[in-house]
C-alpha cells in the first residue's frame, strides 16, 4: 500500500509539472458545438470552418503559435478572465455589456440576425406577430438579448447550443428561433431545415453591436497585435481569399 501511494504521488507530481510548463502559445477558446459555416468539429476531431481559417491566418500574420482550447460556450468568458485561455474566437459579438468584463479586438465580421420559423407560419420580424409564441435562442447571446428586449410577449426558451434550438424548431416544440443569418444557412439547407425559412431581418445596433471581434482580457497586449493582423489579412487579400468559397458577399460588413 505504501509503495502504491508513493507511485501515485510521484506520477501526480510529474503530471502537474508537465502541465505547468509555461507555453508561449496563444490559447484560443472555442465551443466545439457545430456553428457552420463558421466552425464545427469534423468526425475526426479536427476543427474546421471559415472562422477557424481566419483565426489561423491571424496567427500566421502575428507569427505566433496558436492552440485551440475546447470550452463550453457559457464558460468562455470565465475561462478568459481566469487565465485558462488567452483569446476567444467563437463568433462572439462586441457588446457594451461584455465590454464591462472583457476587451475585444476590432471586428472581423458582421452579419445580421434573423428570425426563422416554419414555412406556413405568420411570424415575421414584427414583434406583434410573436405574441404568445415560443421562441428559441442560444443562451447568453445578443440574439437572446434582442428577444428579451423586443419580443417580451413571447415565451423565450434558452438553449445551451445553436443546434439544439434548431432541433427543437424541427421537432415543433418552439415556433421560431432567432439567430445569426449565416449560421442558419446550413440548417435551412439540411433535410430537417426544409420545414422552415427566414422570416425577416432583425436590427438593433445597441444590442447587436458593431460586429464580431476576438475576445481578450482587459489590458492584454494581444489586442494591438491582433488588430494589426486583422488589418494585414484584409489588406493583403488573405481575408477575401478565405471568404470567397464560403460567402458571395463581403462578410466584413459596413
Amino acid at each position: 500500500m505504501k509503495k502504491l501511494k508513493s507511485v501515485l504521488l510521484g506520477s501526480a507530481a510529474s503530471l502537474v509539472l508537465v502541465a505547468g510548463v509555461s507555453q508561449a502559445e496563444i490559447r484560443i477558446g472555442i465551443d466545439p458545438a457545430p456553428y457552420l459555416p463558421f466552425s464545427a468539429e469534423s468526425a475526426s476531431g479536427q476543427l474546421e470552418g471559415w472562422e477557424i481559417q481566419i483565426a489561423d491566418a491571424i496567427c500566421a500574420a502575428m507569427n505566433e503559435d496558436c492552440v485551440w482550447v475546447k470550452t463550453a460556450w457559457d464558460g468562455l468568458i470565465p475561462a478568459l478572465t481566469s487565465n485558462k485561455i488567452d483569446a476567444i474566437i467563437n463568433s462572439m459579438s462586441i457588446t457594451e455589456e461584455r465590454m464591462k468584463t472583457i476587451d475585444f479586438s476590432n471586428k472581423y465580421y458582421n452579419t445580421p440576425a434573423v428570425i426563422v420559423a416554419p414555412k406556413d407560419s405568420n411570424i415575421s420580424a414584427d414583434a406583434a406577430s410573436t405574441d404568445g409564441m415560443y421562441i428559441g435562442v442560444q443562451v447568453a447571446t445578443t440574439h437572446a438579448n434582442y428577444v428579451e428586449a423586443h419580443m417580451g410577449s413571447a415565451t423565450i426558451k434558452s438553449y445551451q447550443n445553436f443546434d439544439e434550438h434548431n432541433q427543437d424548431l424541427f421537432s415543433g416544440r418552439i415556433d421560431a428561433v432567432v439567430g445569426d443569418s449565416m449560421a442558419m444557412q446550413p440548417f435551412l439547407e439540411s433535410t430537417e431545415g426544409q420545414c422552415c425559412e427566414i422570416k425577416g431581418d432583425l436590427h438593433d445596433v445597441a444590442i447587436f453591436g458593431p460586429g464580431v471581434g476576438v475576445g481578450l482580457r482587459k489590458g492584454s497586449d494581444l489586442k494591438a497585435k491582433i488588430n494589426a493582423a486583422i488589418d494585414q489579412i484584409r489588406a493583403d487579400g488573405t481575408f477575401d481569399r478565405i471568404s470567397k468559397p464560403f460567402f458571395n458577399f463581403d462578410i466584413y460588413g459596413g
Binding site: R98, V139, S171, G172, R173
Partner: protein, 230 residues
C-alpha cells in the same frame, strides 16, 4: 464579492427554487410508487415480470442520468416530425414542454435505484412473519398489504432521506433541457452578469438549506413511525 444582482433576480430565484422542489417531490413520489412493484416482481414474480424489472434496474442504474435525460428529450423530439397529427393531439402540451421530460427521467431513475433497495427490503422481511400471516388465513393480497409491504417500507425508511437528497442533487441536470430550476437560474445569472462565484455560492447555499430541511423532516417522521425490529 458583489451581490448587487440579488434584488433584480430575486423573483427568478424564487420560482427556480419552487421548480426544484416540484421536481424533487414528484420524482420521489412517483419513483417510489414504481419502485414497489419493481422490487416485488424481482422477489416473487414469474420470470415474465422479474426479468424486465431486473433489466430496467440494471440499465437505468448503469447509464448516466444526463444521457437518459437527453435521450428522452432530444431523441424522442427528433421523432415528432415523422408522427403525423401529433401536434394537434391532446398530449402535445406535455410533449412540447420540457418539464414533463425531466419528471419522467428523474422518476425512472428513482424507480430504478429504489427498486433495487425495495428488492432487498422485501427479501429481508423475516419469513416467520409472512408464514404467520398465511397461517392465520390471509390471502396473498392481504399478506402483501398488511405485513410484507409495511415491514419492507419500515426497513427502507432510513434510506429514504438519503434517496431524497440524492435526487435533489440530480435536479441541476434539468437545466440542460431548458427547465430552469434553481441551478439553471444560477447559470443564467452567471452568464448575464459574468460573476463566477457569487451565484454558485448562493445556489450551493440553497441546496444545503434544502438538504437540511429534508434531513430534519425525516428525523421527525422517523420518530413518529414505529421502528423496525429484527
Amino acid at each position: 464579492m458583489e451581490w448587487y444582482w440579488l434584488g433584480e433576480y430575486a423573483p427568478k430565484l424564487l420560482s427556480g427554487t419552487w421548480l426544484t422542489i416540484q421536481l424533487l417531490v414528484m420524482a420521489v413520489f412517483f419513483g417510489m410508487l414504481l419502485a414497489i412493484p419493481i422490487g416485488l416482481a424481482q422477489v416473487t414474480g414469474p420470470k415474465i415480470f422479474s426479468l424486465p424489472a431486473r433489466a430496467f434496474c440494471t440499465t437505468f442504474r448503469g447509464t448516466p442520468l444526463l444521457i437518459q435525460l437527453w435521450l428522452l428529450y432530444y431523441g424522442l423530439g427528433s421523432l415528432f416530425p415523422y408522427m403525423d397529427g401529433i401536434r394537434s393531439s391532446f398530449i402535445w402540451p406535455y410533449l412540447r414542454d420540457a418539464f414533463p421530460y425531466a419528471i419522467v427521467a428523474f422518476t425512472l431513475s428513482v424507480a430504478a435505484y429504489e427498486g433495487e433497495i425495495m428488492r432487498g427490503a422485501f427479501k429481508n422481511v423475516p419469513k416467520g412473519e409472512l408464514e404467520a400471516g398465511i397461517a392465520s388465513g390471509m390471502s396473498r393480497f392481504q399478506l402483501l398489504r398488511r405485513i410484507w409491504l409495511p415491514r419492507a417500507l419500515q426497513n427502507v425508511m432510513p434510506t429514504l432521506a438519503g434517496e431524497m437528497v440524492l435526487t435533489l442533487k440530480a435536479t441541476p441536470l434539468a437545466a440542460t433541457i431548458t427547465v430552469y430550476e434553481i441551478f439553471g437560474v444560477g447559470t443564467i445569472i452567471r452568464q448575464e452578469t459574468y460573476r463566477i462565484y457569487e451565484p454558485l455560492l448562493l445556489i450551493a447555499g440553497v441546496y444545503i438549506c434544502l438538504t437540511g430541511v429534508i434531513v430534519v423532516l425525516f428525523h421527525w417522521l422517523e420518530n413518529r413511525v414505529p421502528k423496525a425490529s429484527g
